[in-house]
């Protein structure tokens, strides 16, 4: 594919994004609440598109397609369990919306710190989120680099893709905070879905139409349609993938923070319906795209190159291929900018004030903007190191963030939960992740995320029961919003 065409398409894409950012800046008010949460006034459609674009990243058309190529239909099962996990938005969305407004929380870690009366817990979860989400961001930039170099035969260097992705993410985040992120996300969500659908329709047509394509998969790669398929998706591997991703909606702050931002419950409803509709459709497209790659370009050594190889080597015309490359670039950037913005808010609000007592809103915002630059620069640096397998790195990050889940759930559903319990589970869980997920230790073939999750629950419950509960026993989170939930007819 011509690198010149790719550069021209990137230029148009960037100009469209700059225009959106310019409009968003006109509405930017002062203060952290406006920069990070758009003053809690996001409408339903923008929220839906932004949530979808943030949560469904470049992983879909690169990592998930590669996972399908490698392991078959199990990739669909894994992604649909994650999809079912979006049901957590129905449980926690209205609760976060209510306590967010009531106590003016800006970050999920700030909320945890207040619930357990522990600023240290807020700081620890903020720092751990940084440690775990920078690699996840870097995976997005890594994907862009592989895509650009793979589809142009190296004419666009791997590093150039990383620089483009990081640069646009930084500009769109710094432009107007959540407003510019959400509005550019909305634009990009449309690009992502339309380009992916167009590319799938074309490639299926190229392979002889739907009937021929489906028949060829059954005849040539039938094992990929059963479980455990060609071998990758053993049951332990499957559970190890599904468990962390099921809790993604509450373990990952870049998406849980969005539950603070909608204007009202109607906007949140639209956000949820839009996000799950986008997710279901995009999942099917990505899986079928992976099967198409299996038929069109079999025997690749690196499954992560399935999509670039399919674009570059299977007769995909330029008019389809170039927009698809831009769509995948958009999917990566929407995730990176959202993560950078959320981490900036967490460091600015939950960590910096502990190091600098007496800080104010303005100074926290300045620190946050510096953090945006640092997070994206670190992600770019990490990406340039070219670590293996996009999909597994993404999952490892999610597995690590599982450590926040027990404290998060306990905040709304267990009065007896304490700061000591929450801190112990987060820190003990992190040590467990390091030992089992990254250190290669194992227990009777159990997947590392399962071990981590069990350990965090045990630590949270055990340490909570061994310590004195907060003075109000969570009344401000559980009793205070019960009537409001009932009025809104939320279960």
């Amino acid at each position: 594919m011509s690198p010149l065409l790719i550069w021209i398409a990137i230029a148009f894409y960037a100009l469209a994004g700059f225009a959106v950012v310019a409009v968003a800046r006109r509405q930017l008010a002062t203060g952290a609440e406006d920069f990070y949460l758009a003053s809690r006034t996001l409408g339903g459609l923008v929220s839906a598109a932004s949530y979808a674009a943030t949560t469904y990243s470049a992983f879909m058309m690169l990592g998930l397609a590669g996972l399908t190529y490698r392991g078959g239909v199990g990739a669909l099962g894994f992604e649909l369990v994650y999809f079912a996990g979006l049901s957590l938005m129905l449980v926690f969305g209205p609760r976060l919306w209510l306590v967010g407004r009531r106590y003016r929380f800006i970050t999920p870690s700030e909320m945890l710190g207040a619930r357990y009366d522990s600023p240290a817990l807020a700081a620890v979860t903020a720092l751990l989120s940084c440690v775990f989400l920078v690699p996840y961001s870097s995976v997005q930039l890594l994907g862009i680099g592989l895509l650009f170099s793979g589809t142009t035969g190296g004419a666009i260097p791997f590093e150039a893709g990383i620089v483009v992705g990081a640069g646009l993410a930084a500009i769109w985040t710094l432009g107007a905070g959540l407003r510019s992120v959400a509005w550019t996300d909305a634009l990009q969500a449309v690009i992502i879905l339309v380009t992916a659908l167009a590319a799938l329709v074309h490639i299926v047509d190229f392979l002889g139409g739907w009937g021929t394509f489906l028949a060829r998969v059954e005849e040539e790669h039938g094992a990929w349609l059963a479980q455990p398929g060609p071998g990758f998706f053993s049951f332990a591997t499957f559970v190890g993938l599904t468990l962390p991703w099921f809790f993604f909606a509450i373990s990952n702050p870049q998406v849980s923070q969005r539950l603070f931002t909608t204007d009202d419950l109607g906007a949140m409803r639209t956000m949820i319906i839009g996000a799950i509709s986008f997710g279901f459709l995009f999942t099917l497209i990505s899986i079928l795209w992976g099967f198409a790659a299996l038929v069109a370009v079999p025997d690749l050594e690196n499954p992560d190159l399935a999509t670039p190889s399919l674009i570059a080597g299977a007769g995909v015309p330029t008019i389809v291929a170039v927009p698809l490359v831009i769509g995948i670039l958009a999917a990566a950037i929407t995730t990176v900018d959202s993560i950078a913005l959320t981490l900036a808010s967490m460091i600015g609000r939950d960590v910096y004030p502990r190091a600098e007592p007496g800080s104010n809103d303005r100074r926290e915002l300045i620190v946050g903007k510096i953090v945006i630059v640092l997070v994206i620069a670190a992600a770019a640096l990490f990406a340039s190191m070219r670590l293996d397998l996009i999909s597994l790195l993404s999952v490892a990050s999610s597995a690590a963030l599982l450590v926040i889940v027990p404290a998060f759930v306990g905040a709304f559903f267990w009065r007896r939960g304490t700061a000591a319990g929450a801190l112990t589970s987060v820190l003990g869980g992190t040590a467990t992740v390091i030992m089992f997920q990254f250190g290669g230790l194992g227990v009777s073939g159990l997947p590392a995320p399962v071990i981590t999750f069990v350990v965090t629950i045990v630590l949270f419950v055990g340490a909570s029961l061994a310590t004195r509960p907060p003075a109000d026993r969570g009344a401000g989170f559980i009793d205070a919003i019960r009537e409001d939930l009932s009025r809104m007819r939320v279960d």
Partner: protein, 69 residues
């Protein structure tokens, strides 16, 4: 604490999503096996979630905002 019925439906879907393809469909190497099962499971999940959020009273949330709560 009352457990909402829809959460039980989602829990059953997740258990089925793990068990059925491995126990009942492991020999089925066609699109009508695990692929179709998971697509139907996803569709049922979508319908369940939409049905739940459609019951929410958005007007009540706007009144709560006006009351400053």
């Amino acid at each position: 604490m009352r457990i909402p019925p829809w959460t039980i439906v989602i829990a059953l879907l997740i258990v089925a999503g793990h068990a059925v393809p491995y126990l009942l469909l492991s020999e089925n190497e066609t699109w009508s096996g695990a692929f179709l099962f998971w697509v139907v499971l996803g569709a049922v999940t979508w319908v369940t979630l939409v049905a739940v959020v459609m019951r929410w009273d958005a007007e009540a949330s706007r009144r709560l905002k006006e009351e400053g709560r």
